[in-house]
Structures are given as structure tokens and as C-alpha cells.
Point group: C2
Chain length 198, copies 2
């Protein structure tokens, strides 16, 4: 029972990986990358520290281009992030029959609705799993118990979200300040390893 | 970290219990009963066979009366089942700060929508967890790997769902054939223990 967990190094996708590992799945973490900027590195480090296998899911820059175009047209990232995530899931589904991510109950973006999930599962003949049964309070508590977590301001050197390469391309196209108007600064919780007692 | 899992002896609530146990929760299974018919017994047997502690969550017959009235007025069980389930969750929340059930992604009834979940968590100061991150295909596969499961026609002697006492009361009030018009026969998967290799 192999499962591909789309992985950012954050606590949500880390917890999803742990749950599936504990249920007996052979967990393989994967971080998408478009070859524009090596934003997969922090996720690979988190995966290594937790002892999970990790790979880069290489994707065509056309998907990044489409996403950036959507975001610049919209002036906000939501539709673009949903697009890049659903397409990344399809890439993962090419090589796995079970695909998972760390989407939790109270996440807004990126998130598939129930019709999109059914369509993804049926069209790709995969099972899709996420953390929709858990809210952020539960995930925070579990993460604090399981993981060493580092809270820090997000930067291109400590984050593996889609946002990093999107920002990189936007700034290349439109100049240095454009991306920071669309993606405000935020504090992230990055998993840097197991807690000592785990 | 104690959690109360509302438990029927079926594969969904059994899997929820196993996941939470593996995450380090102290799992206590609970089956609601109104004192009309001892429908908690099959669930208690499943819990015992899996090695989980189990209790009866005693509820006032007024809740069963309200539920039966809703179902008889509607002529179908959905609203009544949602009502009895959400009220049962509140009873569990009186003694636990984490309440869980086996609701999965593709369940229809009983199921709380996201506003109802938020309202439940906020008003009762609890965390609510379920299996909404998993679809039936995944749960079937996991259950087959983890549990000995018995497939059989549902009856009052092998099932611990709300349905049993509801049917019992409906037949008392309206005669023997009424409940079977509202609740059609169905095949259930009851967990009777761990698979040998677990």
C-alpha cells in the first residue's frame, strides 16, 4: 500500500504522513518543483529529519506559467493556488494509486470541493486522502506533541509551498515588489524533526 | 489526551478509534442508549474484542421521542438521524474535551455541516474529529487489512446504530410493519475483532 503525500514540510502534511505511516502505508513524500527555484529543499530536509523518503515531483513550467497568469489577472492567489494544486495531484496520480495531502477541515485554499474530489478519484482511478476530519486546534496540539516545530517568517529559503516559485516568477515578470503585494508576509510552522520523546 | 469516540461496532467508527489510539489518544468508546432496547450490546462486544474500553452513554428518552416524532412526520429518517446524532455529540461533550465519530467523506446522514461543526466546537469548548478525510473505498481497504469483519443483514441483535431503538419505539407506537417501511433492510459490516496478523 504505497501512498504519495504532497509535502511542504509543514505540520499538516507531516501529520498526514505520520497517520498513514501508522496505518501501515508505505509513505513517499513528494514536493512539486518547476525548476525555477529549488524551493523543495526545506521540505526535503523536514522529510529527512522525520525519516520519510522524499522526492521532487517535476512539473512542466507551463503549469507555473498558467498559475501566475491566473493570479496576476485575478490580483489574488486563490484560484491560481487551487489550479496548481489540483494539477499537481494529477501528476502524483500518474505514479500512485493513493494520493494524499495535508488539507484540513478549516483550510480554504488550496482545497478541492467534494465534486472535484469525486471527479479526481474516478477519472484517475486513485484514492485521495486528506486531513479534513481534523480542525486546526487538534492539528496544532498533535503537532506539538509529535514534532519539533520552528515558527518563523516565511521566506524563499525556509518554505516549500507553491507560493515560492510563483512569487519568484511574478517578480521576474513584474519587478521585485509585485509578489509581496499579492502574498502578504506570514508566520509558518515548519517541522524540523521528531520531538525527543517520540 | 482522552477522546470519546461515538461507537457503533462498524468499520468506520472502529477505524477512527484505531487512528486516534495510534496517535496517542486515550480512546474511550461510547454507544448511546435510551433504555428502550439494549442495542449497545453488539458495539460493546466489538469494542471488547478490539481491546478498547466501552461505555453506555445514557440519554433521556425525550430525545428518542423527539427523533421518532420527526421521522414519523417526515416519513423518512434523515432529519431525525441528524438530530439524534448532534444531540448525542453534545451529551458526550459534557464529559470529554475531544469527541469523535466515524463520519466519512461520502457519508450523507448523520453528518454535521461545517457551520454545525464550528458551532459545536465553539459552544461546547471541544474538539470534534471524524473520518471526513477518507472515502469509502479507502476505509473498506483499511478495514479489511485491520479487522475481522462480518457482513450480515442488519437486525436488532447485531447492530448498535440509533436506528435500532428508533425502530423499536416506532413499532411500539404504530405497529410492527411501520419501521421497516421507513428503514429498508441493509447489509452491514460489523467489526468482530482484529485480523490475525494485526
Amino acid at each position: 500500500m504505497k501512498v504519495c503525500v504532497l509535502y511542504s514540510g509543514g505540520k499538516d502534511s507531516s501529520l498526514m504522513a505520520v497517520i498513514l505511516h501508522k496505518l501501515g502505508y508505505q509513505v513517499e513524500l513528494a514536493t512539486v518543483n518547476f525548476g525555477i527555484f529549488p524551493s523543495w529543499k526545506p521540505a526535503a530536509q523536514s522529510a529527512h529529519n522525520l525519516g520519510f523518503s522524499h522526492q521532487i515531483l517535476k512539473a512542466d513550467t507551463s503549469l507555473l506559467d498558467e498559475t501566475v497568469e491566473m493570479i496576476l489577472n485575478d490580483g489574488f492567489p486563490n484560484n491560481g493556488l487551487n489550479h496548481i494544486h489540483s494539477q499537481t495531484m494529477k501528476i502524483a496520480a500518474e505514479n500512485y494509486s493513493v494520493v494524499a495531502d495535508g488539507t484540513r477541515r478549516d483550510d480554504r485554499v488550496p482545497k478541492l470541493n467534494s465534486n472535484q474530489i469525486r471527479s479526481f478519484e474516478d477519472s484517475k482511478q486513485v484514492q485521495y486522502l486528506n486531513l479534513a476530519g481534523f480542525g486546526h486546534k487538534t492539528i496544532d496540539k498533535l503537532s506539538m506533541r509529535l514534532f519539533e516545530v520552528k515558527k518563523e517568517l516565511t521566506s524563499k529559503d525556509n518554505n516549500s509551498d507553491y507560493e515560492i516559485e510563483i512569487r519568484y516568477l511574478i517578480d521576474q515578470l513584474r519587478g521585485d515588489k509585485t509578489a509581496s503585494r499579492i502574498f502578504p508576509e506570514h508566520i509558518q510552522s515548519r517541522v524540523i524533526g521528531w520531538r525527543k520523546n517520540e
